[in-house]
């Protein structure tokens, strides 16, 4: 198998001519064309040049992954281009440099293409005055709801007010009032007064989500974002508008009044709701999860994420989580249970053990299970989970790590094809021991009667289910938010995720007890850190050859699958 591990996301782009521009006196080279939101090459704009020069240009309506609207005027900058003489030749200064003709008017950096020799000025007194003026204008009818606004702390109006705002308002007339707490859809709340009419949400839902539900109604200072009466804003990507809303106009109902954002610890993680494996940030405070937000990863999800995945976190902190190690229905310790299990596995006849792992487990855990499988000559498989896909992000494969299960040899191309064989083996008495990880196998063809025939049923799970009830050994596991590890998504992107909260009670990350079990059963040394474990796995699994934990970075590495 090829071991071409690569961080490239797309085939090599066509060679694009580079041009030189100056940003605040510093010369940089930028490509003449840049891919826009749809991937089409369009002329590079001043704001993109400034971004490459690491110069911050404040903006509300511009977003790198949305069409350009140019309506907020916050990114106004001054610029100049090389002066041309009557002979259409550049005018040269006495010192040999090109003479720059400064434009008499400013331009919006987000929609003005760059040209060779252009000079962009972002720090002049005029630019500062323009920013102050635009900000003051945007704040005229703003309600200053910050104490009760969920956006406070990550609000562009607040941030730019610190830079360009005034301490007091000069506006003496009554502010225009608009509807507050408007129910736009099942997950979105609109506060029209806070809106700065940047139209990011409209462009997102029209062009990215493909569900043209939002628009602006009314005139002048009564402009309001709205849906058509009776048509709720309810597609599967609505919560992205909350992320891109630069102010607190669109807020998430799920996160509404839950916690102030500055208290949240943000942990780099992944969404486990489908095989796409969107990069996420988990917001938690004091061992409590509050929200998922997408994390920019051009190779996987861009800056977006679906609503279903984003809201699929409440099960992690359910009160009925498995918290105790149980041996034949009685509470036990990890040491006690693992000792007994290792003893039973060591005495088990070759071929009498079956393992049903879960494609919701991490690469490392599946690899450790494959070590057990090899030692015990066990038959193994996982459970397939398929649903509907969509055009944007949602994958038909609802397991986050089907490819990890395949690459580590836990299952074959057709996931779940061994399950009937395992059922038959239990029926005939050939299989005496079954190890189940995170799956309710009673729903996948192994009935309770069948499981009752087993000599030993070892179950590791997170939440109680029918299989757990029948288990001889219950090992409480950890959700992805409670451990570290890596997943391989449907496209072969290996990404790692970090731990946000502690597992409840005695629950432990599966890899922690698996490495102990592998050590006891096979005699092979365990790996006490996730880094060491991953690196060892990368050496052993051909597809992961050449990878190491550190090299995965924040956005992962694509492997050949």
């Amino acid at each position: 198998m090829s071991t071409a591990a690569t961080t490239e996301t797309k085939p090599a782009a066509p060679v694009i001519e580079k041009i030189k521009v100056k940003v605040d006196g510093r010369e940089i080279e930028v490509p003449r064309l840049t891919a826009d939101w749809s991937g089409k090459l369009t002329p590079t704009t001043m704001i993109q040049a400034c971004e490459q020069a690491k110069t911050d240009v404040p903006h509300y309506c511009w977003h790198p992954q949305l069409p350009v609207a140019g309506n907020c005027r916050m990114c106004l900058v001054e610029f100049g281009t090389p002066a041309m003489g009557p002979d259409r030749k550049p005018v040269i200064n006495p010192d040999g440099t090109a003479k720059i003709a400064k434009s008499p008017r400013p331009a919006i950096a987000c929609a003005t293409p760059i040209s060779p020799g252009m000079e962009i000025y972002t720090t002049t007194p005029a630019v500062k005055q323009m920013r102050e003026g635009v900000l003051e204008s945007l704040l005229i009818n703003h309600p200053l709801d910050c104490p009760i606004c969920d956006q406070a702390g990550e609000c562009k109006l607040q941030e730019y007010s610190v830079d360009y705002g005034q301490s007091a308002s000069r506006f003496v007339e009554a502010k225009v009032h608009k509807p507050k707490a408007v129910d736009l859809g099942p997950r979105i709340m609109l506060d029209a007064e806070r809106c700065v009419l940047c139209t990011r949400c409209i462009r997102f839902t029209r062009d990215i989500a493909g569900d043209d539900k939002l628009g602006i109604i009314n005139r002048g200072s009564y402009n309001t974002i709205a849906t058509f009466p009776g048509t709720p804003f309810d597609n599967n990507y609505t919560l992205n508008t909350v992320d891109i809303c630069p102010v607190g106009a669109l807020t998430s109902k799920d996160f509404r009044f839950q916690m102030r954002v500055w208290f949240l610890k943000e942990t780099k993680s992944l969404c486990t709701s489908c095989g796409t494996g969107c990069s996420t940030l988990l917001g938690s405070r004091e061992e409590k999860l509050f929200r998922y937000t997408p994390r920019d990863n051009a190779a996987v999800n861009g800056p977006w994420m679906c609503d279903a995945g984003r809201l699929n976190y409440k099960w992690i902190q359910r009160a009925d989580r498995l918290k105790e190690v149980q041996v034949f229905g009685k509470k036990n310790t990890w040491a006690g249970a693992l000792y007994q299990i290792s003893d039973r596995l060591k005495r088990a006849q070759a071929g009498s053990v079956a393992i049903i792992a879960s494609a919701r487990q991490t690469n490392e855990e599946l690899w450790l299970i494959s070590k057990l499988k090899a030692k015990l000559s066990a038959v193994s498989d996982s459970v397939a989970r398929f649903g509907e896909a969509d055009k944007l992000l949602v994958s038909a494969d609802k397991n986050p790590n089907t490819n990890g299960a395949r690459l580590t040899g836990i299952c074959f191309t057709e996931i779940g094809s061994n399950l009937p064989q395992i059922a038959a083996g239990i029926q005939s008495g050939k299989i005496r021991t079954l190890i189940v990880f995170g799956e309710d196998v009673t729903k996948h063809g192994l009935s309770a009667d069948l499981l009752a025939k087993l000599e030993t049923l070892i179950v590791s799970d997170i939440l109680p289910n029918e299989t757990v009830k029948l288990a001889h050994y219950v090992l409480p596991g950890a959700a992805h938010a409670e451990k570290r590890g890596s997943f391989t998504n449907t496209k072969g992107r290996v990404q790692k995720f970090m731990k946000a909260v502690e597992a409840p009670g005695d629950a432990r990350a599966e890899w922690e007890f698996l490495h102990e079990l592998v050590h006891n059963v096979t005699g092979q040394n365990g790996f006490v850190t996730i880094e060491g474990l991953f690196n060892e796995m990368a050496k052993d699994v051909p597809a992961f050859n050449g990878l190491n934990w550190a090299a995965l970075g924040d956005t992962g590495v694509t492997v050949q699958i």
Binding site: C146, P147, K178, N218, Y222, T224, R256, M259, R260
Partner: protein, 187 residues
Amino acid sequence: MAITVNRKPLSFWEKLYLPAIAGGLKVTIKHAYGSLFQGKVVTMEYPEQRWTLPKNYRGAPYLVKDQDGSTKCVSCQLCEFVCPPKAIRITPPGQDGQAADRANAEKMPKEFEINMLRCIYCGMCQEVCPEEAIFLQNDWSHIAHNREEMIYNKEKLLALGGTHGGIQKWKHKLEEAEAQESFPVKV
């Protein structure tokens, strides 16, 4: 470099110490005579008797209500953030929490706790509050049977805090919005 301070040598009378002792005794006898025969008491029967506190004394922080009897706190959690000894703990209402008891500002804390064992009366909470909802008042003595009782909840803090009138900005905003009846769309 150390500086040597030249001290004036003690005189003969000073070396005797007796005049200083006599001076001290004079003060003691004066106060003893005053309290015994003239009723000039300098101590106080605490806790039955207490000091008159100066205005703006910074005692324990309590929550206040406005002149209409509504809770002023909107659960912005800035005091919780700024509190140096982490004495304040606020539980936000969440999306299905109890509705606020005043119009327009639809947020109110579900629970507001101040651990009076931790509080250092620094006044940062009062300074940071955008709603003028918490004030350091002239209460400096807290008595409880156990540590749990020293954590004052929202109910207790509001009862102790009393009323503090003010501009009522949320009410004012609502009145302003209602005055704009001509607003074109009712969603």
